[in-house]
């Protein structure tokens, strides 16, 4: 039972994270990665943004 809950949390937790990120990216107008033009700010980001 505990292992089922643990693996379930892992799978569905990751799924929720992915969906959340997709929704955030879509809101930011980002539909693909930097290489295909998805990002316009902090591309590469060699140093952290202040």
């Amino acid at each position: 039972m505990i292992t089922t809950i643990f693996v379930g949390i892992l799978v569905f937790g990751y799924a929720a994270f992915v969906v959340g990120k997709k929704v955030k990216d879509a809101k930011d107008g980002k539909f693909c990665n930097c290489g295909c033009g998805g990002c316009t700010k902090n591309c590469g980001a060699k140093i952290p943004e202040e």
Binding site: T3, V7, V11, A15, V18, F31, C32, G35, C36, K46
Partner: protein, 663 residues
């Protein structure tokens, strides 16, 4: 050390290496290609030089600060309106004369300018020499830094120059026009100051007003009709070029040694008759390698996937996980995601081949070669470049349509781009052509790419007849010289695509696999024992009669096609989950899928109709969202979605019905 972040704009002609330089300095991996017009939006990245932080802005390439197309406006606005401290004018040192026209305009702005002479390696290879002491003297004493973005030389010197000269505006008049022009410029400058007060870019604005520049006239509506006894644009351009000639004469030596190889190769590759067949031949070769080498490599992936499936099932059993969870992980996620990953070798080879064609300079020629055909359908060959990008991914291809000057041409190109078969459809072709056409799989897959191209041309003809005609379809495109593909550029290009594919497998396809597993295992009463009672079966059965005339009247196909809207690869992962096939790309997996489909009378003709449908139907959600963003019109986007759906239906119907009569 300074806390201020210096804002640096990289400005230059198309295909002079701005993005390569930007990538080298920021550690970024923005798309670069050996043709003009790859960057269509400004991009920002941070870098640090000895404690001094800098925000680098990569801009779309322009030939002058006169803005016609969307991406030219982006650069002009960035340079003139954004808070840019210093302009790094990137020039292709091997074509100094052409590049210096923009330099002259940038110097007229009066902002701090640093000249980055890129491609110095090519200058050396050709035995040319540039006097880097005299050149800055003739350009208003701005810093001139020789660099090679590809070989990563001169980069620290460039950043050093930015750090130490970003507060030094160009104060000297570099181009001195004739007395008559200088008097008029001075008069306009005076009127500008009187009406608008002291401001930046006064001399540049005055020159632009004298050139009758529409954008400048709108922004600075001052009365100068008494000074405009004729159009001075040509005179101003000529006098700038006279000065450029002087600069080149004094600073460039041995300039006659131009590469002749390019001309010799172009006699074949861009031949007026052979150019098009050669293009189709090269694309056929790309698919030959994609299939042969890709298939050779995929065996390793299959073994790894088989091991993973076995190990996960055993592991889940060992930890006593619930049966439903084991089913979700093994039959849902690993079958769906893992099945897609086994196509990675084919995707890898496809992008290595496309990367070589792009970096060698051939892809830019495709626009020239296709110009005749595109002209006949009411578009310029330039519209073909975004379409070529569509062989990789439709999202950047739709964005690349910004390079077209007319809005009508841009929308036409956006409309046609999804017909170019993107790499996400490749797994569908690979799988079904290998199952149902084992002896001619490559030819079948290639035929789908040709059908996509053919459809784009037919649709362009139809659109040309029903929409307004754009006036100018003359192709003006700079053809880069042929060069040996750069290993680093190809590596970055391919890695970027592979990363994108892996990321899609771990996100979109992961979620889609869970959703499909759920709709196949549940209904309103909970988990079902028999898949035919599931949500998926209900949904699929509802679609059966609609898809039956296409030979696709099986409920699983309906579900797979709907799920394919999230990403086209999901069609394949859906088949894995729907038919309970764990390693769909293996010989055993293909056999199992083939047997599963055979129960419904699904044969080669049905498979071809399915592939044609997948080629033409509504693109993935990312593409739809990009089309909406780029056109800013739900109406246009909606029309496109419905049109593609109807076209896919009609084409598949034709294939299946005519095929049934003939076979």
């Amino acid at each position: 050390m300074s806390d201020q972040i210096i804002q640096v704009a990289f400005v230059g002609n198309p295909n002079c290496g701005k993005t390569t330089l930007f990538n080298a300095l920021t550690g970024s991996n923005l798309k670069v290609a050996n043709w003009p017009g790859v960057t269509v939006e400004k991009k920002e990245g941070l870098t640090d030089y000895k404690g001094q932080k800098m925000n680098l802005v990569d801009t779309p390439g322009i030939y002058s600060l006169t803005s016609y197309s969307l991406e030219e406006k982006v650069t002009r606005n960035c340079v003139m309106e954004d808070n840019i401290d210093v302009i790094v004018n990137v020039v292709d040192a091997s074509s100094l004369e052409r590049n210096l026209y923009l330099t002259m305009q940038l110097l007229e702005l009066g902002k701090p300018v640093i000249l980055a002479m890129n491609m110095m390696d090519i200058v050396k290879e050709r035995g040319m020499e540039i006097d880097t002491h005299r050149l800055p003297e003739m350009l208003g004493d701005i810093p001139v830094v020789p660099v090679s973005a590809r070989k990563r030389t001169g980069l620290p010197v460039l950043l050093h120059a930015v750090k130490h000269h970003y507060q030094e505006p160009v104060e000297k008049k570099v181009v001195r026009y004739s007395d008559e022009l200088e008097e008029k410029i001075a008069a306009i400058e005076e009127r500008l100051r009187q009406k608008e007060g002291a401001q930046q870019f006064t001399r540049f604005t005055a020159v632009k007003l004298l050139e009758n520049d529409e954008v400048t006239k709108e922004k600075h509506p001052i009365e100068i009709s008494d000074l405009m006894d004729k159009n001075y644009e040509k005179e101003i351009i000529n006098q700038k070029y006279d000065y450029i000639e002087e600069v080149v004469e004094e600073t460039l030596f041995h300039k006659g040694q131009k590469e002749e190889k390019t001309d010799r190769v172009d006699q074949i590759l861009t031949h007026s008759f052979w150019g098009v067949p050669v293009f189709f031949g090269i694309m056929a070769l790309v698919f030959f390698f994609t299939f042969t080498i890709g298939d050779f490599l995929k065996g390793y992936f299959e073994v790894a996937l088989d091991w993973l499936i076995g190990a996960t099932a055993t592991g889940m059993e060992a930890i006593h996980a619930a049966n439903w969870l084991t089913s979700l992980v093994v039959d849902g996620i690993i079958s769906g995601v893992g099945g897609i990953l086994t196509f990675l070798p084919n995707i890898f080879i496809l992008f290595v081949a496309l990367g070589i064609l792009e970096d060698s300079g051939y892809m830019a020629r495709v626009a020239y070669v296709m110009d005749g055909i595109m002209g006949k359908v009411g578009l310029s060959g330039k519209a073909f470049l975004p379409m070529v990008l569509g062989f990789g991914c439709t999202v950047p291809a739709v964005m690349a349509a910004r390079t077209l000057e007319s809005d009508t041409d841009r929308k036409k190109t956006i409309f046609l781009t999804p017909f170019m078969s993107c790499s996400a459809r490749l797994p569908i072709y690979v799988l079904f052509s290998q199952i149902f056409f084992p002896n001619s799989a490559m030819l079948v897959a290639y035929s789908l790419y040709v059908i996509g191209l053919f459809m784009a041309i037919v649709i362009a003809v139809i659109i040309g007849h029903v929409t307004e005609k754009s006036h100018n379809h003359n192709l003006l495109i700079e053809l880069p010289e042929y060069k040996l593909p750069n290993f680093r550029t190809i590596r970055m290009y391919v890695w970027d695509k592979v990363k994108d594919y892996l990321s899609k497998a771990g996100t979109t396809i992961f979620i889609a696999s869970i959703v499909i597993w759920f709709i196949l295992n549940f209904n309103t009463s909970g988990m079902v024992d028999n898949v035919s009672h599931s949500f998926g079966a209900v949904l699929g059965h509802w679609m059966e009669p609609i898809l039956a005339p296409l030979g696709l009247g099986t409920w699983q196909i309906g579900v797979a096609l709907i799920s394919g809207l999230s990403a086209k690869e999901v069609v394949v992962s859906s088949f894995s989950v729907l038919f309970g096939v764990n390693n769909v790309n293996s010989v055993a997996g293909m056999g199992a899928l083939s047997a599963g489909l055979a129960q419904y009378g699904f044969g080669p003709l049905n498979a071809y109709a399915l592939m044609v449908f997948c080629l033409l139907y509504t693109p993935c959600v990312a593409t739809i969202a990009t089309i909406k963003k780029e056109t800013n019109s739900w109406k246009f986007t909606g029309i496109m979605i419905v049109f593609q759906l109807l076209l896919a239906y009609a084409a598949s119907l034709l294939v299946y019905q005519v095929g049934s009569l003939l076979l």
